[in-house]
């Protein structure tokens, strides 16, 4: 069954950019939000220090905890992005929707970026806290790395196909198989408690201090805004690419059709001129 297409409101030729008033407002709001988040993370919140009353020894993550105001939100955005890819993949298979195919692809691309950021920020945080850049025994780090590789493969796979209908259908299957790993990554610290250095969720039971909790949730909102901004722009690029493919094909067919009478005329003329002049009809 052919993939359903929606009539374009603007053609590829007419479009001059991917921004709109809404995305400009969202973009500036995100920039302001990021500035506030960095103020919260670096100035307003305290370093993580706990004093053992019995021994008077100070323990904790100290200033390294400030990185978690970025690490945790980008990890949440990673899950969101790959979940939207899964929803888009289901909609492609169910409704044969081009709109959802482009949304799924855009979300996967932004998700790979945020998943990479999650790994990098986690690695930088792990150096002072775990005393290593990379911990093979940590099940969440490993499952997140696998998730990253699966969606890098998904993006590479999409680039191998030129037929948009085949690409949409096949990519949806790959995206859905990849999505199996999302709950595994999320639940890994509970399922393999003794094989991780990651802590279990403390936000749900509000086991963190007020301002820390606020900074975490604020960071999540800001990075979700950044994700939405990137997603909208990537979607619009994808939509323009799709229209360029469609109109490009239609234009090529029209040009070919326009050439047809000349081609036929030339072929007939050529055939006639090559006929032997002494031909006799019997």
């Amino acid at each position: 069954m052919p993939i359903a297409t929606v009539e374009p409101s603007t053609t590829a030729q007419e479009a001059v950019g991917t921004s709109s008033r809404l995305t400009k407002i969202l973009g500036f709001a995100c920039l302001a939000g990021l500035a506030v988040l960095f103020l919260l993370a670096f100035v307003l919140t305290d370093p993580d220090e706990r004093v053992d009353e019995a021994t008077n020894i100070v323990t904790g993550q100290f200033d390294a905890v400030r990185l978690l105001y970025v690490h945790f939100p980008v990890a949440i955005v990673t899950y969101t992005a790959f979940l939207l890819n899964a929803v888009g993949s289901i909609m492609v298979l169910w409704k044969k929707s081009t709109w959802w195919d482009i949304t799924a692809a855009a979300s996967a691309e932004v998700g790979v970026l945020f998943c990479g950021l999650t790994l990098v920020t986690g690695s930088i945080w792990g150096r002072p806290i775990w005393n290593t850049w990379w911990e093979w025994g940590d099940v969440r780090l490993m499952t997140t790395t696998i998730l990253f590789l699966i969606f890098v493969g998904y993006l590479a796979y999409r680039r191998t196909m030129t037929d948009s209908q085949v690409r949409a259908k096949r990519s949806a299957v790959v995206g859905l198989v990849g999505a199996i790993n999302i709950p595994i990554v999320y639940k890994s610290v509970e399922w393999w408690e003794n094989r991780t250095l990651h802590q279990q969720s403390t936000l749900a039971d509000l086991a963190v201090e007020d301002l820390t909790l606020f900074a975490m949730i604020f960071g999540m909102v800001v990075f979700l805004g950044v994700y939405a901004w990137l997603l909208i722009h990537r979607f619009r690029i994808g939509w323009l690419e799709h229209q360029a493919e469609t109109t490009g094909l239609e234009q090529a067919i029209a040009e070919r059709r326009a050439q047809a009478p000349d081609a036929i005329r030339n072929a007939v003329t050529q055939a006639r001129s090559s006929e032997p002049e002494t031909g006799v009809h019997q």
């Binding site: 699966i150 299957v173 790959v174």
Partner: protein, 221 residues
């Protein structure tokens, strides 16, 4: 069942006549085992303790070749079109192809098992656990491989994109199979049966997804 077995039998018959797996994939698997031995400086105690991981990495690499072979026999002479026209439902086509791959993988694993006993002096302390884990892992690999094999059909870059797509998806299977073999070979004290349960879950999930999705992806193969 008749359609499934007919398809499996067809693939096994092609293999019996062409002997690609027997003369190319199996020797390749043994080459991997020998290369591991040389790379680890022939330290037998290290080899013995790494046997579970090395065994499954060798199986995955050889399995990729077996899966590519299973797909390539269908791309010749528009055989995929004949499969679609056969009237058999997609899940039966998937089951037939996956079963053929699984049987070939089991043969590869059997030879590799002999290889690690002879070359690495490994000892199968719990054969029941080893065989159960191998069966579950093989079903998971064959199911995911058969589905992804068709997804890579019709591309100029099929040979490179298939490992790129398939290996990350099979990584959980690799980890679980290695842990189960750790217990089965007595190299590490872990609960192999719980890992075996996880392997069974992956076999069911990949099998179910393959059975459902095969009809969709084979349309354009």
């Amino acid at each position: 069942m008749r359609e499934i077995w007919a398809l499996t039998r067809k693939d096994l018959l092609i293999e019996a006549r062409s002997k690609v797996v027997a003369t190319q994939v199996l020797p390749f698997a043994m080459v991997i085992l020998i290369l591991f031995g040389l790379a680890l400086d022939a330290d037998r105690s290290s080899l013995r303790s790494f046997t579970p991981g090395l065994f499954w990495v060798a199986t995955l690499f050889a399995g990729i070749l077996a899966i590519q072979r299973s797909v390539s026999v269908e791309t010749q002479s528009s055989a995929f079109e004949a499969l679609r026209l056969s009237g058999a439902p997609g899940w039966k086509l998937f089951a037939g192809k996956a079963l053929a791959v699984a049987l070939q993988l089991l043969a590869i694993e059997f030879v590799l098992a002999l290889g690690v006993v002879v070359l690495y002096r490994s000892n199968f302390a719990d054969p029941v656990l080893v065989v159960t884990a191998a069966l579950a892992a093989t079903i998971a690999i064959a199911s995911a491989g058969s589905l992804y094999g068709v997804l890579a059909v019709g591309m100029g870059v099929r040979d490179t994109i298939l490992p790129m797509l398939l290996l990350p998806v099979l990584t959980p299977v690799l980890v679980a199979a290695t842990r189960a073999f750790d217990d089965g070979l007595g190299t590490t004290a872990v609960n192999g049966w719980s890992w075996c349960g996880l392997l069974g879950l992956f076999a069911v999930v990949y099998g179910a997804i393959g059975a459902v999705a095969y009809a969709v992806v084979i349309e354009d193969a």
